[in-house]
């Protein structure tokens, strides 16, 4: 049973435009959510997070929106740059405690020149 779902395996966006990556979750008890960025043959790196008590968190070109009633969050990147081409993972706490994060399957973002 996948608790965090990313239903778009890939997304292609023109350079300079807005990229919107989506994530749905099933557990309304999650305290926070995170987005990770991953380049090929490298480990994922933390990008941005949001607490469940907020509906928006912004960091430079990256903004995460949380819609708790819809159990949905999205990552907006504006403007999109070539270096943003990567796989993006949405994540949430596993069962709580120290048992790691549960990740979505990822969305491969491709920024076209």
């Amino acid at each position: 049973d996948q608790q965090v779902k990313q239903n778009s395996p890939s997304l292609s966006v023109q350079e300079g435009r807005i990229s919107i990556l989506n994530c749905d979750y099933t557990n309304s008890m999650f305290d926070y959510f995170l987005w990770y960025k991953k380049y090929p043959a490298e480990g994922p790196t933390f990008l941005i997070s949001i607490s469940s008590i907020k509906d928006k968190n912004e960091d430079g070109r990256f903004t995460v929106f949380l819609n708790k009633s819809a159990k949905h969050l999205s990552l907006h990147i504006v403007p999109s740059q070539p270096g943003d081409s990567a796989v993006y993972f949405c994540a949430a706490p596993g069962r709580g405690g120290a048992d790691g994060l549960t990740f979505g399957k990822g969305t491969h973002l491709i920024i076209q020149p």
Binding site: G97, A98, G100
Partner: protein
């Protein structure tokens, strides 16, 4: 500052051979440690986590095992590799207590032939 290293970076092994992947963390004490696997189309799957020396929790039944002989060392092993063990293995750590942000190593690409 904290750093995490895992090795080897790439490994090609025949079916039935043993496996040992190592991971060490520096600059922190008593971290939570994790092994994840990224397989094609399946996102990041948690394999094992550890909250202390000798304490290992397994998330999925499998052909692999993990050990934590020292506070900042985490080892992933197998006695006999299967074709299905191929994938990209990631070690990660988080601070003591409930899981927060995970910090990932560079990853190890395992190909079983």
């Amino acid at each position: 500052s904290q750093t995490i290293h895992q090795w080897p970076a790439t490994l090609v092994q025949p079916v039935g051979s043993p496996l040992s992947l190592e991971c060490t963390v520096e600059g922190t004490s008593n971290p939570n440690l994790y092994w994840y696997r990224q397989a094609a189309g399946r996102g990041l799957q948690l394999l094992f986590y550890s909250v202390g020396i000798g304490q290992i929790s397994s998330e999925v039944p499998q052909n692999l095992s993990a050990s934590r002989p020292q506070d900042r060392q985490f080892i992933l092993s197998s006695k006999k590799l299967l074709l299905s063990d191929s994938g990209f293995y990631l070690c990660a750590w988080s601070r003591t207590g409930n899981t927060g942000e995970l910090f990932f190593g560079e990853g190890s690409r395992l190909t079983v032939l």
